[in-house]
Symmetry: C2
Subunit: 190 residues, 2 copies
Amino acid sequence: MSTQTRRERERAERERAIIAAARDLALAEGWDAVTTRRLAAEIEYSQPVLYSHFKGKDAIMAAVAVEGFAELATALVAARASAANPRQAVADVAAAYTTFAEQRPALYDAMFTLAVDLPFATQGVPTDLARGFAELAEAVRPAAGDDDLEAVTETFWSGLHGLVTLMRSGRLRRADHDRRLAVLVNRFSR
Amino acid sequence: MSTQTRRERERAERERAIIAAARDLALAEGWDAVTTRRLAAEIEYSQPVLYSHFKGKDAIMAAVAVEGFAELATALVAARASAANPRQAVADVAAAYTTFAEQRPALYDAMFTLAVDLPFATQGVPTDLARGFAELAEAVRPAAGDDDLEAVTETFWSGLHGLVTLMRSGRLRRADHDRRLAVLVNRFSR
DNA sequence: CAGCAACGCTAGCGGTGCTAGGGTTTCGGT
DNA sequence: ACCGAAACCCTAGCACCGCTAGCGTTGCTG
């Protein structure tokens, strides 16, 4: 029994090492730099070992994304908790969201622009993702009015996502980001 | 002179054939299916010919994107022109935008999610892109209030872009699209 | 008609994600 | 204690990618 458990533990550790290596490499040089060969070299095993843990590169990215959901959710919870009033809550949550995307671009990409094989609008949504979404929902709830809260939240989220992706790809001037964010917050407060 | 002009004409035709082939292939099977080899086979020339017309695959995608800007601008102009009132103009323009993205996903990707080497937030923006942006601006102008019109337009655009990309990547339920669109339109009208 | 320049081809480079097959090590039963 | 079996991981390679060097041919020019 002891050797069995040891091997399982080592295997789990190696899996974490793969995810950590992918995450670090992606944060440092972007996802294009994350190749199965470099990943294998990083964990000091051969390429095929990766495939005994994950179905493919997409699955590795998905695993990294799941970690990202936890980070984002934590940031959003903190932002909303420290807000003085409902209006400020929307602003702080929005700022926290875009800051996260700006500071962890590779993580954000894995979560929201790449890696499609994660469950989103279906059952089995990662709990941390649901946590983050709930924070957005609570922030905009006072401003929902007659509209369905879920629809308002999703639309608010889309606005944030659009701002982030268009700015990051050079389609929007970074200098005007605060102004745009203020507009969005304005439209989803009161 | 005659042979010279003939060759230039043939060259121009071949360039158009490359763009058309890339566009058709992308619309039919997505950009992943557009490889330089398939493209070369499609125009019945060898691979290196492509590189005498374009710097690389990205440049070909950029050329396709430019054509897309014209289509989108036309759709937006038509939508706004036929609207009965300002409120309806925002709704129609928004619907036209998302419909375009939904019906021409590959085109939309080339324009707004891939191909970064196009000028956007700088000088030299493709005129058709500016035309489309201007239509969005005119639509939301009545609802800008004290906010800077450009910032409002960019934010509205971001909302549309976010809705489209999150839905297309499976992050938002397609069934609720109209509801979300209505929310966005609501927040950028009146 | 000779020389030259433009042109488009074949072949190949270095890279990608992924997999088949075989050795080696470790385990379990006699 | 040993032997068969199973688990494990590595080497080598497949098919593909974007892109380019170098050559042969074609067709124009003086």
